[in-house]
């Protein structure tokens, strides 16, 4: 039987995937939107945990706050805060797309880049405000 297109004798280039493409910031933002969305779904475990801890009593609440205040806890909460701001801002951009705005290349590039910058600043601002509220800053 003749060689099939899949046989080594007929190696053909495969269609390029994300490992081949140059990463435009618009593509990175799109992927980040999805990744932060999945991350936020997992983050809802923390929200439910906090609410259950308050409903349970001081012991459970103190455990949650002690874990949240540890180094790893703070790193996770900072990631959570950043994901909230990124998904929030990029979600608004999705809504703008849905009504037909924001597709011009300079707008799309600028908004993608701007949302990365704003989301990091936003997460820092949330932490600074929280630390300030707690009297630590």
């Amino acid at each position: 039987m003749a060689d099939t297109p899949q046989s080594p004798a007929h190696q053909r280039p495969l269609s390029p995937f994300i490992s081949i493409f140059r990463w435009p910031v618009t593509m990175a933002a799109s992927i980040t939107h999805r990744v932060t969305g999945v991350g936020l779904a997992l983050g809802m475990i923390l929200v439910a945990w906090l609410l259950i801890a308050v409903a349970t009593g001081p012991g459970a609440y103190d455990t949650f706050m002690a874990l949240g205040g540890s180094i790893i806890g703070r790193l996770i909460l900072f990631g959570f805060a950043w994901a909230v701001v990124f998904h929030f801002l990029n979600g608004i951009r999705h809504l703008a797309w849905d009504v037909g705005y924001g597709f011009k290349l300079p707008t799309a590039l600028g908004a993608s880049f701007g949302i990365y910058v704003l989301s990091i600043l936003g997460a820092i601002a949330i932490f600074a405000w929280g630390y300030h509220r707690a009297g630590l800053l």
């Binding site: 609410l51 929030f88 630390y131």
Partner: protein, 124 residues
């Protein structure tokens, strides 16, 4: 010329037989989450460093309890819809897809019921 029947066209449900309902519910919940997330960020930063009694008092307040209920419910609706799309995009084996759909729904229900129960227990 289309082979679709006029009835099929007027229904507007397309090949998935569910029309744009999933898409629309995802957008509607995202619009609801704009003010609710802003409130949640305020609430979360407000809780930092609070004693148990102060945290309880904050969530015991009817306005805060209602806002937290709305935030949790809108979030669970939005995340269940969103994760379903991720599963649909990457999982193409019918068996695994069905199991993940069920797991996704179970996750949403567990997070939702647990959170709502906790909020009501604090607030009532």
């Amino acid at each position: 010329m289309s082979i679709r029947t006029p009835f099929s066209r007027v229904q507007g449900l397309g090949s998935a037989h569910s029309g744009t309902e999933h898409f629309w519910r995802e957008r509607a919940s995202s619009v609801a989450l704009i003010p609710l997330t802003a409130w949640f960020v305020y609430a979360a930063t407000h809780l930092i460093g609070l004693s148990y009694d102060d945290a309880f008092t904050f969530l015991h307040d009817p306005v805060n309890a209602i806002a937290m209920l709305l935030f949790v419910i809108a979030s669970v609706v939005h995340m269940t819809l969103g994760i379903q799309v991720v599963i649909e995009d990457y999982v193409h084996t019918e068996g695994s897809k069905l199991l993940l759909f069920l797991a996704n729904k179970a996750f949403g229900w567990i997070i939702g019921v647990a959170s709502v129960f906790a909020i009501l227990r604090i607030a009532l």
